[in-house]
């Protein structure tokens, strides 16, 4: 399937004007059917996507850089997990000037066979994932080759691939270009055959000599001998792009990937030479997802017809039981009865009309929902680990829903929530801020703050600007040193708790979704959930505010994206319902925590009030009757502590003593802050 046939309508009638006014004069023919036919020809997928690159996420240079990294990393992770290897990924982005970047992504995956390397990277719509129903990150087999094609179109540089299957066998090195007209790879090096790099030390020398990029050893603790990377693949693409930090950036994507994939170690070298590593928090791979057959409810008529044509089964009954999940022979019989077809009818003889009644019959027959063991969740424990590693906070909670089904596709929703901690705006260093100000394309400072930092609304931005005494409409690129310093100061010090909006991290099959937030079912579910009972403020139909990060993951054998660029999940009612239930589950725990936090604060406040006055009282008393001031103070302090402890006990309405900290149930993580209510030293 390498070409798309364009069905342009033939223009037989005169195309122009209305005949009336021109009387009976025969309109001049501009084109004849023959002339048109001469122009009609095949369009290659590559050509189609080269023209429509926005469909694949290459609409602008900034997004192109991100999409390239994303496609490569997704592929690497899929490959590692399928092979059962704990993934380690290296992402290197290097600026080569002129808005060009060299992006290298390497994994420690199983490697790729010599034969298929050119096809995987040099041919669009070539892959293993499209034809099966199995939970994976990639779906179509377009991504990485499209990235290579984009690179080639913008810089003219070939895609470089090096792949290693075993330490004892030679590695393969290819430089590939895509022939867009034929949708076919073109190998440039080794006289069209690629190069083989010998194994062992000789190979390392060869790599160095030829300037091939390859990370040959893992990082090792000091004093230890670093282990060799025995297998893996590295793809290097040079493309025109734009590196910018902030929302929707490569940095953001990698950080979010680290949250949802706690079994992955990510090494990241950004274009400015900063190295960052997200170490894995578990060695355990997620359970291997099983491949399933489609469920009858999820099938469309056209697909049914195609399947009927392709099937090797001889009878209808065999076809139904063999091609679908949850169809036993008795269910098949029922369907056939319903469709008034014989179960023994030859499946290849089913015509359009019979297929139609078969389709109707399927919808009317009760078929049990698909098995759900084909989905692998991240799991509450790992969600907690992942989110607490990356998002600073004081309270974490995670919930995984049992699998459910939409349109015959099993899916599962999990949610993790982090509360507290600073906003990214408070973590940014002054130098980074200065760089970000230089890079941004925002026209006003207010816009800059809102677009560059997650979770900041216009309210918070305005407060920051007010504190720094700067105008909201000031241009971000024209600030001088002193002004940047002032802005930085304000960003660090302004209390943003109330002005902050909830940060929503969306994932589909462990891949972060970074764009089209508003169109996504996840965002809709978060906004439609009432967070007020859980202690957050929320304006009607908006995201709740507060220092909250919520991460929502949808795992499914087929994630229903609203568009090909895989940016937003479609809002099927079943999906929205599961999302709501999962969000409510974490919301309840958050509510409990916030309630208790409030109570602890009140308790601390009570004690503080007493403590504050005790010294005054002790001083006054000793002035009046000459009592020992410090001795009296200690005694009063003692009474105060006992009294407030009693008062706290009474605080619980149900007459219970203060609850122990573990009654939140499982999957909650509370980070104790260091600042306990201060006690004046005696």
């Amino acid at each position: 399937m390498s070409t798309v046939n364009e069905q342009s309508p033939l223009v037989e009638e005169p195309a122009s004007g209305n005949g009336k006014a021109e009387g009976h004069a025969a309109p001049r023919r501009r084109m004849t059917a023959e002339m048109m036919a001469a122009q009609q020809r095949d369009i290659s997928v590559s050509e189609f996507f080269a023209k429509n690159r926005h469909l694949l996420g290459f609409d602008n240079p900034r997004k192109a850089l991100l999409t390239t990294v994303k496609e490569a990393v997704d592929n690497s992770l899929d490959a590692c997990e399928e092979a059962g290897i704990v993934p380690e990924i290296w992402v290197h982005i290097e600026s080569t000037g002129n808005n060009r970047f060299k992006v290298g992504i390497q994994d420690n995956g199983p490697g790729i066979m010599k034969k298929t390397i050119p096809l995987i990277f040099g041919k669009l719509l070539y892959g293993s994932k499209f034809h099966r129903l199995r939970m994976s990150r990639g779906q179509q087999g377009i991504g990485i080759s499209a990235a290579g094609m984009y690179g080639m179109l913008t810089t003219g540089k070939p895609v470089k691939i090096i792949s290693r299957i075993s330490p004892r066998r030679p590695s393969h090195y290819y430089e590939i270009q895509i022939d867009t007209q034929k949708n076919r790879p073109e190998i440039l090096n080794g006289r069209g055959e690629g190069e083989d790099i010998p194994a062992g030390e000789k190979g390392h020398a060869y790599i160095l000599e030829h300037g091939i990029e390859w990370v040959s050893h893992y990082d090792a603790a000091e004093g230890e001998k670093p282990a060799e990377v025995q297998h893996g693949t590295r793809v290097t693409i040079e493309l025109e792009g734009r590196y910018q930090r902030g929302r929707g950036s490569v940095d953001d994507y990698l950080e979010q990937t680290a949250i949802a994939n706690p079994h992955v170690t990510l090494h990241y070298l950004d274009p400015e030479g900063n190295r960052k590593t997200y170490p894995r928090s578990t060695q355990k791979l997620p359970p291997e997802p099983k491949e399933i057959k489609p469920h009858p409810y999820g099938i469309e008529l056209g697909r049914l017809v195609t399947m009927l044509k392709e099937t090797k089964a001889t009878t209808l009954s065999q076809f139904l039981t063999g091609s679908f999940s949850r169809v036993s022979s008795s269910v098949a019989r029922k369907i056939c009865e319903e469709a008034k077809l014989s179960p023994r009818a030859s499946s290849s003889r089913i015509g359009r009309r019979e297929a139609d009644s078969l389709f109707e019959a399927i919808q009317r027959t009760r078929i049990s929902p698909p098995s759900t063991d084909c989905i692998s969740s991240i799991g509450e424990e790992l969600l907690l680990k992942g989110i607490s590693h990356v998002v600073p906070g004081e309270f974490y909670v995670a919930a995984t829903r049992p699998p459910a089904v939409y349109r015959g596709n099993p899916f599962l929703i999990e949610v993790a929530l982090a509360y507290g901690g600073g906003n990214p705006v408070q973590k940014v260093t002054r130098d980074t801020l200065a760089e970000m100000l230089g890079e941004t394309d925002a026209r006003t400072l207010r816009q800059f703050i809102m677009t560059s930092f997650e979770g900041l609304g216009s309210d918070a931005a305005e407060r920051i600007l007010k504190a720094s005494a700067m105008g909201t409409r000031q241009s971000p690129s024209k600030l001088d040193e002193a002004e940047i310093a002032k802005l930085h100061e304000a960003m660090r010090n302004v209390n943003l708790e109330s002005g902050q909006t909830m940060q929503v991290l969306r994932y589909a099959n462990r891949v972060p979704l970074q764009f089209s937030q508003a169109a996504c079912a996840i965002t809709q579910a978060v906004m439609n959930t009432n967070w007020r009972p859980y202690g957050l403020s929320q304006s009607r139909g908006g995201l709740p505010s507060g220092p909250v990060t919520v991460m929502v993951h949808m795992a499914s054998v087929w994630v229903p994206f609203t568009s090909e660029s895989k940016e937003a999940i479609a809002g099927y009612p079943e999906i929205l319902k599961e999302l709501r239930l999962a969000l409510q589950a974490v919301g309840r725990k958050l509510g409990m925590y916030l309630n208790r936090r409030k109570r602890v604060a009140q308790e601390g406040e009570r004690r503080n009030i007493f403590l504050r006055y005790l010294r005054e009282v002790a001083t006054a008393v000793s002035d009046l009757n000459g009592a020992d001031r410090d001795g009296l103070y200690d005694k009063l302090l003692h009474v105060a502590k006992r009294k407030t402890a009693e008062a706290d006990m009474r605080f619980d309405q149900r007459g219970r003593a203060i609850e122990s900290p573990n009654d939140f149930g499982d999957h909650v993580l509370i980070v104790q802050s260091e600042s306990e209510p201060e006690e004046p030293a005696a």
């Binding site: 009570r606 006055y613 006054a620 008393v621 009046l624 005694k635 009474v639 006992r642 030293a681």
Partner: protein, 381 residues
């Protein structure tokens, strides 16, 4: 832990203490001893402060003044809403002790400044403003059963006096017949230790509401002509004025006549002079003058004196409410003339200030109005 402020000025030699001072000091010490006792027993230190609210006063029919009941409010250190006032109470106590030991007196504002400082380890002030401090001083007075002057604290002077009386104020001779146009400023503390009556020829006391009317009488030498003492209290008379009136009445046997505005406020001033106030009910026996008489202005004066409608002031809602409340006071409820008086004012729908009489003639009030009332003995009780 080193304390920064060297608070107590140990340099000042302790002054010679009077018997009263020693007694007051002892009760102050008692206040502190209670705290130490509670702390040692692990109990919440607390104070029982006689309640100074309407619910805790009652009208003593035989004595004819307001008395404080036995109700008390407990103020605890370990109670969120009371902790601060508890601390303030002890602070006022220690401030008073300081004054007593040094033999000095200060105004309530002075005491406020003496005690105001930032609480250690916080940004909170011991007292935010004087209004925070004044009720605490009264609390200390009632709970120690000590008078303000016994604590060496006084309020600012408000109120003046002229008339045929010779005083001795802290050793100085004061001839109240030679006080010029300003009169003798009545101090806050007028106890016999401070003010002694040397000689008095006056036959009665005329108390007027405010300074402007008082000046009229003084300028017309009313006190000379009618041989009386003339006082005013700038509206609601302060304690010093009320105590002095009480002493003039009780010690010298002078009747007290009041010339106040014809409005609920004026009625209430009369009520306070006669029966004592709710807030200072514990002082009633020293302050109240049950035999005081109300000269005017009366509701009937509008027609009786033939005043022009333009000198009237319409009663507002608050006035009406206040008048109805005063009507139900136990000391008014059984006095028919007062009920009629208030009803007439409500019926008139306006109030009259004493100054309204000036519309008749500048000296109408001194030459006609008051002399006629005194002649006819036309008073309200």
């Amino acid at each position: 832990m080193a304390k920064k402020s060297p608070k107590k000025s140990s340099t000042t030699a302790p002054a010679a203490l009077s018997k009263q001072d020693v007694k007051t000091l002892n009760s102050l010490r008692g206040l502190a001893d209670e705290v130490v006792r509670s702390a040692e027993r692990g109990r919440t230190p607390s104070l029982d402060i006689p309640s100074r609210s309407l619910s805790n006063v009652r009208y003593n029919k035989s004595k004819r003044f307001i008395e404080m009941g036995s109700g008390t409010n407990r103020r605890e250190l370990f109670n969120l809403s009371q902790a601060k006032s508890y601390m303030q109470t002890l602070l006022v106590g220690s401030g008073c002790k300081q004054l007593l030991e040094q033999g000095k007196t200060t105004s309530i504002r002075g005491l406020y400044y003496l005690l105001k400082h930032t609480i250690e380890g916080s940004r909170e002030e011991t007292f935010d403003d004087q209004a925070d401090c004044d009720p605490i001083i009264e609390d200390v007075e009632v709970s120690l059963d000590a008078l303000r002057e016994e604590l060496h604290v006084y309020a600012s002077n408000r109120g003046s006096m002229v008339g045929n009386i010779l005083l001795n104020d802290s050793g100085d001779e004061i001839d109240c017949t030679r006080m010029g146009s300003g009169g003798y400023s009545i101090p806050s503390i007028v106890e016999p230790e401070i003010i002694k009556f040397a000689k008095c020829d006056a036959k009665f006391v005329l108390h007027v509401e405010k300074d402007t009317v008082w000046r009229r009488f003084n300028e017309d030498k009313f006190w000379q002509q009618y041989n009386c003492i003339l006082t005013h209290g700038s509206g609601q008379p302060p304690r010093g004025v009320r105590r002095l009136l009480n002493r003039l009445h009780n010690e010298l046997g002078l009747p007290v006549y009041c010339l106040l505005d014809n409005d609920p406020w004026g009625y209430y001033i009369y009520s306070v002079i006669k029966q004592g106030s709710i807030n200072l009910a514990y002082e009633s026996r020293r302050m109240a003058i049950p035999n005081a008489r109300y000269i005017g202005l009366r509701s009937k004066d509008f027609t009786a004196c033939g005043l022009s409608p333009s000198v009237t002031i319409r009663l507002n809602e608050q006035d009406v409410r206040r008048a109805k409340q005063i009507k139900t006071y136990p000391w008014f409820v059984n006095k028919k003339p007062w009920q009629q008086e208030i009803d007439l004012m409500l019926k008139n729908g306006f109030k009259l200030e004493v100054e309204a009489l000036i519309s008749k003639d500048i000296s109408y009030v001194t030459e006609q109005y008051v002399p006629e009332r005194l002649e006819e003995q036309d008073f309200l009780d």
